[in-house]
Amino acid sequence: MAALYLMEQGAVVRKVDQRVVVELEGRTVQDIPLIKIDQVVIFGRVTVTAAATAMFLEHGIEVVYLTAYGKFLGRLQPPAPKNCLLRVAQYRASLDGAASAWLARCFVRGKIKNMLYVLQRSRREGAAIDEIFIQEIKKALKALEGAANVDAIRGVEGVASAVYFKAFGEMIKKDFSFAGRVKRPPTDPVNSLLSLGYTLLAKDMTSAVNTVGLDPYMGFLHRQRYGRTSLALDLMEEFRPVVVDTLVLACINKGILKPEDFHREFGGAVYLQEEARKKFLVQYETKKNSEIRHPVFNYQASYRRCMDLQARLLAKHLTGEIDEYPPLVWR
């Protein structure tokens, strides 16, 4: 199953039979069977007709709305699964400090281990990453086990990420530089790619969480905030380094994206040009569909499937079917 990305401003999405037809200025530019897609992602000003909307909802296809620049706006979602018992278990754990801390530690452990994996792999491939960074992150990993509550865990996560992004610049080979993580808005190309990548990952994680029947808004590591998909952000932590960061590095180091593919907005924000963004989306989808061996189940699964599996493992843990939540860790 694939995602349909709509970026052409002014495009119209129609239902014809059991197909999705995209028109641009009266011309048909895309005509695909509905059964081929499981998600529609809209950037900016794209019209979806009422018939098409109804068809998406009927077939459980979600529609994600982003601004023309790729900032998340909202989603049109088929009815939530009816598993209210699971959601009660989730809320109970979310309101319980000890249970939250235990889970938050799992997510952060996964993230830090994966950051370490990305750094060490790059070093083997010749990046000049100082041993100090590796040691600092290992220290954070130890400190994590002693962190008593969610606030302390957030602190450890912050420290580890800061060190990681300090080392991140060393992994970039070509004509790009990276001084540190900058967001809202990103002010250099690398940060702009990271931000777009995380937005895409967040939308996929949210749909994984929805599919399993969990409430994406009630998290453990991330504080509850109106309209923030905290749980999706929690589960996303372990995927960030291996899915988005390595993807961004590959796009830059392999020369798939070049400095002239970016443009600077008034006010300093940096975004990808239209054509280059399409390239990045294709790379992201390819990555998502690429297969790895899942460490717990020990079979080949795409990253997309792994997101579902992790959400399912979390659900099983919350309802008491399994004792542990094993984060997805690369070796």
């Binding site: 349909l4 495009a11 641009l24 989306l281």
Partner: protein, 89 residues
């Protein structure tokens, strides 16, 4: 899977063509390729086609290719195979 059909009546042929478009890609006259149909989708397609064709006059053939064979298709000219892991507009 490759679906080939031979339908006498124009009206019925159009109908078959329209149904198949919902499941796969039109490659050439009377030939469709349907990538990765699930069992359920295949049954539904068969059911829909069987409603319209007259077995006495028409025929529909399904050639189901295994994953290894699907990669061995040789093409010269004609319709490009649509990539199906992501759709961009």
């Amino acid at each position: 899977m490759v679906v080939a059909y031979d339908v006498q009546d124009d009206k019925r042929r159009n109908k078959v063509h329209k149904i198949l478009k919902n499941y796969g890609q039109w490659m050439q006259f009377s030939v469709f390729e349907c990538q990765k149909l699930s069992k359920e989708q295949f049954l539904r397609l068969r059911y829909q086609l069987e409603k319209h064709i007259k077995p006495a006059e028409d025929s529909v053939r399904y050639y189901i290719l295994c994953e290894g064979c699907a990669g061995k298709v040789i093409r010269i000219g004609g319709e490009e195979l649509r990539r199906e892991d992501v759709f961009l507009v």
